[in-house]
């Protein structure tokens, strides 16, 4: 790992200030992506600004009809929190199937969505539940947050503080995971709420996206059979050592069908 300076501010304003003063600063959350990336020297920041000392960034609460989760809240905490199980059980299940227990003990919601790995799980929930991302300077709609391959709407030095997930009437996340890492070969998040149906797909293509044509069809008729007429073309799918594009294209339909079936059967 290349040399860097480390600091652990106790307040948000101090973290922002530290970033501005650094030559090439990076925020450190759980380090479960950033440290492996730095070992490979794919990132060589001059300064790491550890967010672990800022207690305001951690925690789970109900805010009206939404569930608010702090950026530094770990996957393990989201997976086990009673508030999440009560409000959005699909989100607790999603957090509980990320990686393994060790990764969940340190990995965070903010780090996961800031990184926007094409095979990450949380982006599917943010897009699939129409969540709102709050930062140190503004709020960003879930639909506008993920902009491309490892790309987000975050500006230089912009810090995610929390994410608000509206409580949907029903939701389900189905993923076909890579047996070695747990990452999604394909994951489909389906929700059904007052604003209609949402279908978000992760793992299949370079960036999470919504299947709007399928959403419209499911709004008319919410059955597993409805899914069969829709697919993500093979040409748009990722092709790598984990799965071929054809396989991923096929899996999108399988996972979407399972998610819709689980919701109609009431077993989320």
């Amino acid at each position: 790992m290349q040399d860097f300076s480390y600091q652990r501010p106790a307040a948000l304003t101090a973290a922002i200030e530290a970033f501005e003063q650094a030559e090439d600063g990076r925020f450190l959350a759980g380090g479960q992506t950033l440290l492996p990336v730095m070992k490979h020297r794919l990132a060589t920041p001059s300064d790491l600004i550890d967010l672990a000392g800022i207690s305001d960034l951690e925690g789970i609460s109900i805010a009206g009809s939404a569930l608010s989760i702090g950026a530094m809240t770990t996957h393990a905490r989201v997976a086990s929190a009673a508030e999440v199980h009560d409000a959005i059980p699909a989100l607790a299940k999603l957090a509980g199937c990320i990686g393994d227990p060790h990764v969940r003990n340190r990995g965070t919601l903010g780090g996961s969505i800031a990184n926007n790995d094409p095979a990450a799980d949380y982006p599917a929930a943010v897009a699939g539940l129409n969540a709102t991302v709050y930062t140190d300077r503004r709020r960003i709609a879930g639909d506008d947050f993920f902009t491309g391959f490892f790309e987000t709407a975050l500006e230089e030095g912009e810090l995610i503080t929390r994410v608000e997930f509206p409580v949907a009437a029903a939701a389900c996340y189905q993923k076909f995971d890579d047996p070695a890492s747990g990452y999604a070969v394909v994951g489909v998040f389906v929700s059904r709420g007052s604003q209609g149906v949402r279908v978000a797909v992760t793992g299949a293509t370079p960036c999470v996206f919504r299947m709007r044509d399928l959403e419209a069809a499911l709004n008319r008729k919410f059955t597993p059979e409805t899914v069969s007429g829709f697919c993500v073309p093979e040409e748009e799918c990722n092709d790598d050592l984990h799965a071929t594009a054809a396989y991923r294209s096929h899996l999108v339909g399988v996972m979407a069908t399972r998610a819709v079936a689980a919701i109609t059967d009431g077993e989320m």
Binding site: M1, Q2, D3, F4, S5, Y6, R8, L28, G31, Q32, L35, P36, M38, K39, L48, D50, A52, A76, G99, D100, P101, H102, V103, N105, R106, A180, S181, G182
Partner: protein
């Protein structure tokens, strides 16, 4: 070069200070500076769990934690398990049930299983497999690791009953 920092934490109940560059990984401080060579390096890429230690009551991969992140932490490694010459129930279980072959994964396995049994004193086989998923073993096929954890669970629950 970034300035070295002194980091203080508790290691198996003893207060330790270690002087590190910010980029030093906890596994390296433990093995090279603090002579705790129980936690092993299997992959150094966050996948195998051979480097598992317990930090503030949570299992973590010490190859994916910086030592500077451990200021004031409570760290537990395999070296902390034997008490007064007596093996911990998990160490006994791995011996009795042949839970190891080469033994490379074993310190991580036991350290992880310790936290699992604290959180769930009588896990089912399925629960053991789910909660031990961060620890890989290339020898045993896991069957006897599950049995070893069950052995320890039984022994610990009958001791506390």
């Amino acid at each position: 070069m970034a300035k070295k920092q002194t980091v203080s934490f508790t290691l198996n109940g003893t207060q330790v200070d270690v002087v590190v560059e910010p980029r030093e990984l906890l596994i390296h401080s433990l093995r090279e500076k603090l002579q705790h060579t129980g936690p092993h390096i299997g992959c150094e890429t966050s996948h195998c769990g051979a480097c598992t230690v317990d930090i503030d009551g949570m299992s973590v991969k010490s190859c994916t934690v910086l030592t500077v992140q451990c200021q004031d932490a409570e760290v537990l490694t395999i070296e902390g398990f034997e008490q007064g010459g007596e093996l911990h129930a998990l160490q006994e279980g791995f011996t009795q049930e042949h839970g190891l072959q080469c033994g490379y994964c074993t310190p991580g396995m036991i350290t992880r299983a310790y936290r699992l049994l604290k959180e769930n004193p009588s896990p089912s086989e399925e629960e053991i497999r789910y909660w031990m998923a961060g620890n890989l073993c290339r020898c045993t096929g896991y069957q006897n690791i599950v049995k070893a954890v069950q052995y320890a669970a039984n022994k610990l629950s009958s001791a506390s009953a």
